[in-house]
Symmetry: none
Subunit: 412 residues, 2 copies
């Protein structure tokens, strides 16, 4: 509740329940407070047929879920000897004495069912209230996940009569509204599959949700719409599901047997970091230069000092010289270079914070070509660097797709 941890449990449970056709109504995060827990539980039971509580089953005084359930059920808490024994054994296996505070974890509201925890001390609890089934699971992610797999998901394995399948397509290079406009009628509310868009760090994602009586039918309808969206959006789409821009670049480089190098100034290694996030990137990535100081641009990438003096480090001529220098100093087929003003200081009227030049260098046989483009990214230093790096990856991706080189300024 105080913002020190992110709630990944709700996301994990929701994704897996949706896969099974169970649509979550809401997630709620509450403080370690008995009355707040009882109120939240009461409201949830009135609203939904399935309520899952995670956390608050630990041994310390701020763990209040057991007591909240007992209060709600108007039942006492009874000691559950098999659970107590299991907890004692767990400590024994670790070669430790069970602290007395852990006894409280074997307390179960009278009339509730005990769910075994294979991985930790806290047993889970299941009870019915009217038509609603309530599960209380520990908050430790891997204990919770194991218990949900064993006790909750099998409830829906015989089918809910409804299958819900989801998919996502990621795009880069156009705004959310432009993507939505291209999709037009496909974005209509109430449509099945239902489409929505979200934006995160410049990436606009189209999300799909499809309902059908059977999973097979749902998948069929879903993939037909996914294909349609891919056609409409064309090269804006760089991947599906968990695919990143760097993954897409890597896939293309691998498929076309091209090797890449980077030459970075303002992004200070971020582009290379993103490329090497990809497992197996050594198959297509050679390395790069971080030429943050002008002396490094000159010494390592042979950018003429006179050029930097004349045009400034943030200029078309310098970014092109960096991209070309990186090709000269390596055997790579493609280079990407960036130089700009990431901020917060260093901006001028002519080159305000956010001004970034990006160049792509390409080697074809004995010849080398370079193209460059200037961008102006809004926001903080982090944001400017993030957008610059992703834009560079996207330009690399588009150049890897492209064949021919008529638009390139060819260098000696």
């Amino acid at each position: 509740m105080l913002g020190q941890t992110l709630d990944s449990n709700s996301a994990w449970l929701s994704a897996r329940l949706a896969d099974r056709g169970v649509i979550p109504l809401y997630h709620k995060t509450i403080a370690d407070d008995l009355q707040a827990t009882v109120t939240a539980l009461t409201l949830a039971i009135e609203t939904a047929e399935l309520v899952i509580v995670t956390g608050g089953l630990g041994p310390t005084l701020d763990d209040l879920t057991r007591q909240a359930i007992a209060t709600l059920m108007k039942k006492p808490l009874d000691m559950h000897p098999p659970s107590l024994e299991r907890i004692r054994q767990l400590f024994k296996r670790l070669g430790r004495e069970m602290p007395s505070s852990n006894r409280s974890q074997a307390l179960i509201p009278r009339g509730a069912e005990v769910l075994n925890n294979d991985w930790g001390t806290a047993p889970g609890i299941r009870f019915k209230s009217g038509k609603t089934t309530v599960f209380a699971l520990p908050g430790v992610p891997y204990e919770m996940e194991n218990m949900a797999e064993r006790h909750i998901f099998p409830m829906f394995d015989r089918g809910t009569g409804l299958a819900v399948v989801v998919a996502s397509l990621h795009t880069f290079g156009a705004g959310e509204s432009a993507v939505a406009e291209t999709l037009g009628d496909l974005m209509q509310r109430g449509r099945n599959p239902l489409l929505g868009t979200t934006v995160s760090g410049g990436v606009v994602t189209v999300r799909f949700r499809c309902k059908a009586p059977t999973s097979k039918l749902a998948h069929k309808q879903l993939s037909a719409t996914v294909e349609l969206v891919k056609q409409r959006l064309g090269p804006l789409v760089f991947g599906e599901g968990t695919v990143t821009l760097a993954d897409a670049v890597g896939e293309l480089a691998k498929a076309k047997a091209k090797r890449l190098v980077t030459a970075e100034s303002c992004t200070g290694g971020l582009v290379a970091k993103l490329l090497t996030d990809v497992p197996g990137s050594s198959a297509w990535f050679d390395g790069g230069w971080i030429t943050y100081a002008n002396a490094m641009k000159n010494r390592e990438l042979h950018v003429a000092a006179s050029l930097i003096e004349k045009d400034g480090a943030v200029s078309e001529s310098v970014v092109c010289a960096m991209a070309d220098g990186a090709l000269q100093r390596s055997e790579a087929d493609f280079s990407v270079a960036l130089t700009g003003v990431a901020g917060p200081d260093g901006g001028t009227e002519e080159k305000p914070v956010g001004t970034i030049w990006i160049a792509i260098g390409r080697r074809v046989g004995e010849r080398r070509g370079v193209i460059a483009e200037c961008f102006r990214f809004p926001g903080t230093r982090d944001r400017v660097r993030d957008l610059a790096a992703k834009t560079a990856l996207n330009l690399l991706r588009l150049e890897l797709i492209r064949t021919g080189r008529s638009m390139w300024s060819v260098r000696q």
Copy 2:
């Protein structure tokens, strides 16, 4: 709601409100559904004096916050011409035509106040309902954060009657239980200031929360305990509050007028990226090399091919040669080099995934020295790279603190 993204906005807002003595009652995540949004808003207004909504202000049909507020207030949505003009100008600056769907973002429920968004299209909304103030902000984190800083937090700057002040000290290099053991009695529950520890990505943070009738008193008590903890933990502590390991390195380098370079293999630019996250890093960071391929290690850092052949790329001799090569190729005072097996593939019995060699190079006058250490980090590729990069920064930090060089193997 379907588990495709984690809610970081609630955590961010909660942490900053708690800092100001405002304790959040609950977070709730709801689906893109008009009725669900109206119901959740109604309930929140009944429960709390401050309600913050994030998201649902985009230009597409699944963005329903504006409409939900209008429904709740029983007021129509009016076009707000200054917002429309601001949005149009934003597109103009990007050299794009404003799509017609963005017009909807300038719709404001009659009687509500408009909050300017400096970084994106969606304006925010503020209105009162009884005693409760409701804010609706865009869901894009940096837009939301900027608007919260400008419009929400200043509400509490005059104080809330009870002063709750918080602080945090970040440590690197020891486990959570070792830190807790060193703190001993200071970790007692019920103590004021109250201490706790959290771990994230290898950084163990000691968190302090102090309550007192006045802010002055709270700050006084807090800083006495913070000082005590600093003394007990010594050089394990690298910073307070928002300070990162890279910030700490930068502060030291600046204070001692030392310049740094990086030579990275397995981390692929991550160490340099972290260093250049620091605004003004050009004052002490020259740049670096990403020598991912062995040919790059040889060509750029003069690591002998025979050395790589004999000892392997992941070895003490190679990491030392990389650190020394980076000093040779630059005028920097310190270099940091990494080579290792980040995984998921490439591990052997002798050098399993997670094995990382880290070296620090140091120039003193005409002489250069190098020290190296081998680490074995657990976890996924991302986790191994993150821990390796942070460990490298921490070694740099400790070497920047240290004076003398008796322990160094001196190279020609």
